[in-house]
Amino acid sequence: MSGDVDGAPKSRLLRSWAIQRRVIGALLMREVITRYGRHNIGFLWLFLEPMIFTLGVTAIWTATKSVHGSDLPIAAFAVTGYSSVLIWRNMPSRLVDSIAPNLSLMYHRNVKIVDIFAARLLLEAVGVATSFMVLTLFFAAIGWLNLPEDPLKVIEGWLMLAWWGMSLAMFLGALSHRSELVDKFWHPTAYLLFPLSGSAFLVDAMPPEFQKWILYLPMVHGVECVRDGFFGSHFTPHYDLGYMALINLTFTFLALTEIRHASQNLVPA
């Protein structure tokens, strides 16, 4: 067990991958114990928190029935919509201003900003995905929604949303090391983006002029894809995963550039 050196002499890449996995695992455990502790239901909060949110929204939308007068399954509409919001909104919120409080961890040479980001993103993704799955099964069991017509499409759309959330989160997280304005602006922006994100409406129900503009937002494509997989036979979905991938790729590139910049400008106490 000496410093950096692992047992078998594998290739450099394999070895650094092994170290990376170990470090992310360690950070993950640390994050879970720090955030949820060992008392009461502990890390179950990881799934319960997003579930409570989604349940609440589903209840409100079902009660008001105000979303759409059509034959749309409201519960499926709410669960898909709100699970999608949570993914792209929580991820950046977890990463913005997450570098400074963790600076002292950089004294451990194998711990990099990317690892701290990865651990938090993984935790967030697992939490939201589990809540999404449990709620879907729960509502299906009590007959409020039918299981997805095309589960693969749901997974595809959800992975695209997660990719979008991660790239945006890493970009903003690293950028927030440069300026505290990121934190100030992210919260109002996230709030304002929610009604535009396609979670609370179907693109098809919007006027064509509005559709053209709204489809510039990548998350709209993801939500439409998830809903296509759930109840595609009930509406006409509008999405282009190629466009979404292009935006995601751009943000991933920006994120990596910005992380590199932040890594070179760390000054721990």
Binding site: M1, G3, G37, H108
Partner: protein, 223 residues
């Protein structure tokens, strides 16, 4: 594979952006240290000793120049700033074990035995006294084996018996390791190092002879 390892510091400079432009901490720091060698770096408060330690540890990047490491380098000895205050001493230790791939149960036993924290090992670090925190920090530093230890100012921790044990662990059991020690006090450096360097006025000078180094240090006291 760590046989013949070294740290090579090649014309390293570090500057920071401050309000009035750029402030250079030091320039052209140039030295190398091989396995088992011990070098002491003398410098007054603010001379840039801790900055140099952070560069050597790879926490910060040089503004120019290169540092190449072919041996494993520790974090600054007994550094306790990376502890998560709301976690217990044992949790913090387990985190370090996971990061460095050390055997958890074996290491926990070893550190528990060394740091003598008793049941406080299972209490949040925030409830520790300064001395307890330092004992845990020292214990954890010795839980992972490194080829080169970075020592930022030896501070006396605990009672004299504990200090003796720290001394044994570091300078007797690990005397085959390389050590880079920074201090404003020449006593420890004279006692433990084979070479001394002085960091003063942004310049770095290496001496083979301790008295020569100390003379230079005294002469450049005010820089």
């Amino acid at each position: 594979m760590t046989e013949g390892g070294m740290i090579n510091v090649d014309k390293v400079s570090k500057r920071y952006k401050v309000r009035s432009g750029w402030s250079t901490v030091f320039r052209d720091v140039d030295f190398r240290i091989a396995k088992g060698e011990k070098i002491g770096i003398l410098g007054r408060n603010g001379a840039g000793k801790s900055t140099l330690i952070r560069l050597l540890g790879g926490v910060e990047q040089p503004s120019s120049g290169r540092i190449t490491r072919t041996m494993s380098v520790s974090w600054p000895l007994a550094f306790s700033g990376a502890f998560q205050q709301s976690l217990t001493g044992a949790d913090n230790l387990r985190f370090i074990c996971r990061v460095y791939g050390a055997d958890i149960s074996e290491t926990v036993d070893k550190v528990e035995d060394f740091a003598e924290l008793g049941k406080y090992m299972r209490e949040p670090v925030r409830t520790y006294s300064a001395g307890m925190r330092a004992r845990l920090g020292f214990g954890i530093s010795l839980a992972v084996e490194f080829d080169c230890f970075l020592i930022d100012e030896i501070v006396a921790v605990g009672d004299s018996r504990f200090q003796q044990r720290c001394y044994d662990e570091l300078f007797v059991k690990r005397k085959d390791r390389a050590m880079i020690m920074v201090s404003h006090n020449d006593r420890y450096i004279r006692e433990h190092c084979d070479r001394a360097a002085v960091l003063a006025g942004g310049r770095f000078a290496v001496f083979d002879d301790m008295d020569e180094a100390y003379g230079y240090y005294q002469a450049h006291d005010r820089e």
